[in-house]
């Protein structure tokens, strides 16, 4: 049975699962990477995601306007990010814990609003698949990589963009410096809190988008607690990716591909308890990181509030 794993269908299946599963992680992790690069640890990603998922779903259900849904989800995420920013930047609260608070808040609010405004599980028509001209006609690869909905493309497109912004723009320079040595940035007239507010708001918007990618692009449905801890995995993937967009991509793909693999293992009836199959992506993620021995450290000022003395 195990040999079945190496057939083309299965291989393609795993890869396409990996691409889909990675999509929400990419959005949320890239956003989180930005906020961590500037020194803010946001553990509230999960809450922002689920509230974003609900918002997108609800807006699309009522307006059938997908773009509006995406924007609303990003807006709600950004609002949560703003609140997170206020608490952790202006009020200098413990970031990890306030994040847990925002997670609970987002979880509760999405659930509450769903009960009051929707009531029962419904579908919406979300983003359709957009086969890319020419590219999607390439046999095998075309279907695999170039026949997805627009948010999937966007998720993968965001990786090089994020990398470019971080490394090649003034904004990126500011973000990196604020996360490493806020005093230095401050002494050169860079507003540490402005930069950090920007990244937390951006991170929130991305988390919202991540939620939207679930509820109006990949699944087209909202169900209570549907993010199921993915926000926390997204945070963990930022560590895996050593705060670099390409690293995050590698982490998200690894985790998602192994997740796809374990699904196939179960589908092929390979005889291991399903629990152990489900464990696989987690174990492998730790394992790979243990072996790879990242040379990059965390941003020096991560979780440290900045306050000019005097």
């Amino acid at each position: 049975m195990i040999s079945d794993l190496f057939s083309l269908t299965v291989l393609l299946g795993i890869i396409s699962s990996g691409i889909r599963l990675a999509t929400p992680y990419l959005f949320a992790s890239i956003g989180e990477a930005f906020s961590q690069r500037s020194g803010v640890l946001n553990l509230g990603v999960e809450g922002q995601m689920i509230l974003g998922a609900f918002t997108a779903f609800y807006v699309v259900m009522n307006t059938e306007n997908l773009l509006l849904g995406v924007l609303a989800a990003m807006g709600v995420g950004a609002l949560m990010g703003l609140a997170m920013g206020f608490v952790s930047i202006t009020l200098q609260a413990q970031q990890g814990i306030s994040g847990i608070g925002f997670y609970l808040f987002g979880l509760g609010m999405s659930n509450l609003l769903f009960q009051l405004l929707v009531g029962t599980v419904e579908t919406v028509s979300g983003f359709p698949k957009v086969p890319l001209p020419i590219l999607s006609d390439i046999p095998v690869i075309g279907e695999l990589f170039f026949d997805h909905n627009i948010l999937v493309y966007l998720a993968f497109l965001i990786v090089p963009i994020a990398s470019f912004v971080l490394n090649k723009t003034n904004l990126g320079l500011k973000i990196r410096s604020v996360g490493e040595n806020p005093e230095a940035a401050d002494s050169l007239g860079v507003s540490v809190s402005k930069v950090r507010y920007f990244t937390t708001i951006f991170g929130g918007a991305m988390s919202g988008l991540s939620g939207a990618s679930l509820s109006i692009a990949l699944l087209n449905v909202f169900q209570l607690g549907m993010t199921a801890g993915q926000g926390f995995i997204a945070v963990a993937l930022v560590y895996f990716g050593a705060w670099r967009p390409w690293g995050v991509l590698a982490g998200a793909l690894l985790f998602s591909l192994v997740n796809g693999l374990q699904l196939w293992i179960q589908v092929l009836g390979i005889n291991i308890p399903s629990e152990f199959a489900v464990m696989m992506p987690y174990i492998l993620t730790i394992f790979v990181l243990t072996l790879s021995r990242s040379k990059y450290g965390a941003p020096s000022a991560l979780t440290k509030p900045f306050e000019r003395e005097g």
Binding site: S98, I233, L289
Partner: protein
Amino acid sequence: MKSRLNAILDALLPLFATLAALLVGAIMLIILDVNPLVAYGALLNGAFGSSNALAETLVKATPLLLVGLGICIAYRGNVINIGGEGQMIVGAIVATWFGLRYTNMPGWLMITLAMMLGALAGAVWGGIPGVLKAYFNVNEILSTVMMNAIAVQLLNFVLTGPMIDPIQSEKASQIPQTARLEEAYRLPRLVPTRLHLGALIAVGLAILVYFLLWRTTLGYRIRSVGQNKFASRYAGIKVERYIIIALMLSGALAGLAGVTQVYGVNFRMITDGSTSGFTGRAGYNGIVAALFGSLHPIITIPASILFGALLVGANTMQRVTQVPSALITALNGLVVVFVVSSEIWRKKRQQKRLTIAIEDQEFDEFSNEIPGHSVEEAS
């Protein structure tokens, strides 16, 4: 006098913050057409209104305190242990297995052994991220999050297979639970409620952890490693070892929390397929409790009770007012956010007091040492 007042104000700060959060919650309640006074009356009543309510609050606070104590240690060692959920689970699995496997032991002996084994299992589960961090530079936030996910699958596996209640395994429904521990193995009840000895043990451990951190070389080293790795190495402390020890101790206390949940409350393990069904989110809430308690083991005691009261009372409030339970979750989130946010006032005031203290001291010394201003005139 003044310093005592300040200390009291500091200690009450989380309480004020909680009240502020509840005030925001009141608006939501009004929107849901529920009288906030009735709701919060129910909350207070549910948390403290009767001896039974009080006992429930303490039962809830017990695992929070145990996990929170572990967080105090880990945090002092500058490691962030988000793995309390997983550590509770493996601690409970091992202790439960032991209690079911060996029957007819004296109760006190079994309880002692089970606690030790559970703590050990938790320590191992916490130690793995510790080793990974110390020697392989794997970030512990990542590894503990992953270890939680692994632990819950382990739980699902043993409770549906190897450790399932033999009675259940014959039934079609196959509830994923273990058999019950025998009567003798259960933690004694303190008063005729569900309040069990575990609560006292947790308080005892809080004092012990306080001593450990500030009165022993081990604690000294953990704190040293947590504050400054370079200086610790310079002081001859093996930094890696103490990172691991800090996470292991943290895991051990979480493991113990798992044991008390089984031996003190439910007498068996049950899962609903997620972590929180067994742990009651204590692995996460314990972190919050520890931070409410300023990461100080003694202050974590009232902080755990406060947070436990909030959780218990909120459930009562839901029952009485019939608001959707989602509101409770959101409200808890608000409380957490408000309480951590309130810390800034404590910090600000502490800073102020400190500088005043130094000023007084320094000016005294200067006035003794410095011989007048004659030099200035010389220019």
